[in-house]
């Protein structure tokens, strides 16, 4: 890190700046990786920029727009299509073709597809994986419930079972104040990951395949949204936004029976959870199975970087087999992007929770991509403005809400981008 030292030990090296966000554990890890890279590559010095998650999108766009972007950035896939379209990122296709150690077939196709724009490669996937459920094993046991992972193996882990389990794990004190909830969804406002798998499980979808109009008014999507709303407002098995404020109910605090999230939570939960047993299981099945969503972040190089070769070397290091093996197989920081690694016995067996690692593999194998394109944030804003009525309990009937949302989103999609 830059300091006012008299002699700069990094003089004469190619300076690279790398920017990312994440929880303290993730940040410590990436810092460590940068240091390791610097050691192994004496001609390059990578400095690591951590930007808070809430401001990350804003900061990255301001940097890209003001010619101050770092050489390498981690981009959430939500923002990737709209930024790549503006020409901010370097086309990596030629660098990848020239790199004899880079084989596209090693990777899950989903992990490569996310990085493509007009058939060209613009990034490498990291923090990739599908959404599944972390569950508090002890709480399930106390409530006399069947283990959801066992149920899933027998094909009996359905949304009905999920609902019953959530209700049974919800507890209140004598004054009626909730002390424990059946489940929670990350980020009180954006319950979207939960919704996506429910929509698909009931045969609905978000946009049509051409991504030109919304289809959330289908019976399947309405049923799914109705169910999610009822969990909160009829069953009260999930904290409301007010109850969730200031992180009063967290999975790690032992106050949620289940939580929907990506794989990245494992190291944190391993570190902070000591008071109960926990594990992972797939999302519940609906009449149309249990497809879940899978998403990653992209490591991209700024189109204005003056050191693209070194930046590529750094990206390759961050996504190398050794790194993946170290991070994903051993530390379980996240899911590997390489097929062979995910199916390796070493990955599937572990001595620390979670033990059901097959659930991670299944979630990716059984995944669908979200309809993310350059219009994503625009239509999501329109969509959320209606869906929020349901989530916040101002309206209880999903049908009208979704029909209004469809009209709004259709209008956004038909309009010129960026107005």
């Amino acid at each position: 890190m830059a300091c006012g030292c008299g002699v700069d030990p990094n003089a004469g090296k190619v300076p690279l700046r790398y920017m990312a966000w994440g929880n303290p554990e993730q940040m410590a890890l990436e810092q460590h990786l940068c240091e390791e890279f610097n050691q192994k590559n004496p001609d390059v010095h990578v400095s690591f920029l951590r930007v808070p998650g809430d401001e990350y999108g804003l900061k990255m766009m301001l940097m890209l727009a003001s010619h101050t972007a770092p050489d390498v950035m981690r981009v959430d896939h939500y923002n990737f299509p709209s930024l790549v379209e503006k020409g901010y990122f370097l086309d990596l296709t030629d660098l990848a073709n020239a790199d004899t150690s880079f084989h596209r077939n090693d990777f899950f196709p989903q992990a490569i597809d996310e990085c493509l724009y007009k058939g060209r490669l613009f990034g490498l996937n990291v923090l990739f994986g599908g959404v599944l459920i972390y569950y508090n094993k002890s709480m399930f046991r106390e409530a006399g419930l069947d283990d959801p992972a066992d149920l899933a193996k027998r094909g009996q882990w359905t949304w009905d079972r999920f609902r019953i389990s959530a209700i049974k794990m919800t507890k209140r004190d004598a004054d009626g104040h909730p002390t424990q909830f059946g489940f929670g969804a990350p980020g009180s406002g954006s319950t979207f990951p939960v919704l996506a798998c429910a929509i698909w499980g009931f045969g609905g979808d978000m946009l049509d395949p051409t991504m030109t109009h919304a289809v959330f008014d289908s019976p399947g999507a309405i049923r799914a949204f109705q169910m999610i709303a009822d969990f909160r407002w009829k069953d009260h098995s999930c904290p409301t936004q007010a109850q969730d404020a200031n992180s009063l109910f967290t999975f790690e605090g032992g106050k949620l029976g289940m939580v929907f999230d990506f794989m990245g939570m494992t190291p944190r939960y391993r570190k902070v959870i000591h008071k109960f047993d926990w594990d992972v299981c797939p999302v519940p099945s609906g009449p149309f199975g249990n497809p879940t969503l899978c998403k990653g972040n992209q490591l991209v190089i700024s189109a204005e970087s003056s050191h693209p070769k070194e930046a590529w070397r750094f990206e390759r290091f961050m996504t190398s087999e050794t790194t993946e093996n170290e991070l994903y197989v051993k530390l379980r920081r996240c899911f590997p992007t390489r097929k062979a690694m995910a199916y390796s016995p070493e990955y599937l067996k572990s001595s620390l929770p979670p033990f059901n690692n097959w659930a991670f593999v299944d979630s990716v194998a059984n995944s669908r991509p979200l309809p993310i394109n350059d219009r994503w944030s625009e239509w999501m804003t329109a969509f959320s403005s209606e869906i929020d009525n349901l989530i916040a309990g101002r309206e209880r009937d999903a049908g009208p809400v979704l029909r209004r949302a469809k009209i709004k989103v259709d209008k956004v999609l038909a309009d010129e981008a960026g107005f």
Binding site: T240, A242, S385
Partner: protein, 300 residues
Amino acid sequence: MSVNRRKLTHQPGFWGFLFISPWLLGFLIFTAGPMIASFWLSFQKYDLVSIRYVGVENYRRLFQEDPLFWKSLKNTVFYALFSVPLGITGSLSIALLLNQNVRGQRIFRTCFYLPSLVPSVASALVWQWVFNADNGILNTTLRLIGITGPQWLQDERATPWAFIAMSLWGVGGARMVIFLAGLQGIPESYYEAAKLDGASSWKCFRKVTLPLLSPVMFFNLILGVIGSFQVFTSAYVMTGGGPNNASLFYALYLFRNAFNYFKLGKASAMAWILFTILLVLTLIQFKTSKRWVHYEGDDK
């Protein structure tokens, strides 16, 4: 005064210009120029990458097709409608109390000024907890007297009041000090003269204090209205505009359009609409001020 001035008039104007040139230069570069530029931008579609002339389309869309624009305007007007009068009354009351011949005036003044010393991000973080529905000090205190407080920052009906309440925490700040300075600038002899005429305290206040304080009041009112239309940091940090956009204030929505969505033409149009609104409000205040603002003999 005027005699001295006249003696100084033979000084070369050159020097005067030279001394004010830092401000003049800054004004031209950072205010006048950008004002023209942003007016021009408000007729363009611009995202820092490509620019295109679109006529009044930005304005048309804001007025006709953007419910959030109207919502943010409504929120802001509601906020201003309560926070400005309450704020001015509060500031004046504190200033009046402090202006009594009280012991420990400095300690009291510090206590009242303290909240204004708390930086806005820190204060937003503090109030986020004050307003916590279950465990916050506000609802905990209300519970002691048997009232169940609302979910201040999660219930859209309560949120605007939460912001108004929070703004009142700052009434002991600069505005109060300006009132206090104004009060202390009123010559004691005026009160003595009024007392000799047998005026009651209330009459003194109405006939002496209020008229002599009215220019200060006017100043605070104008700047208060303008300030209230620009609430940003507290909403950005505390609620991010929620719930259901109940705290989406005009400045926050403008900021989002400018620096989150890079709709710079639209944001410029919003800025000019804001400017027009404030200009009209200020002019109305100037017009009506003739009726209530008392000026001493002109000495310009």
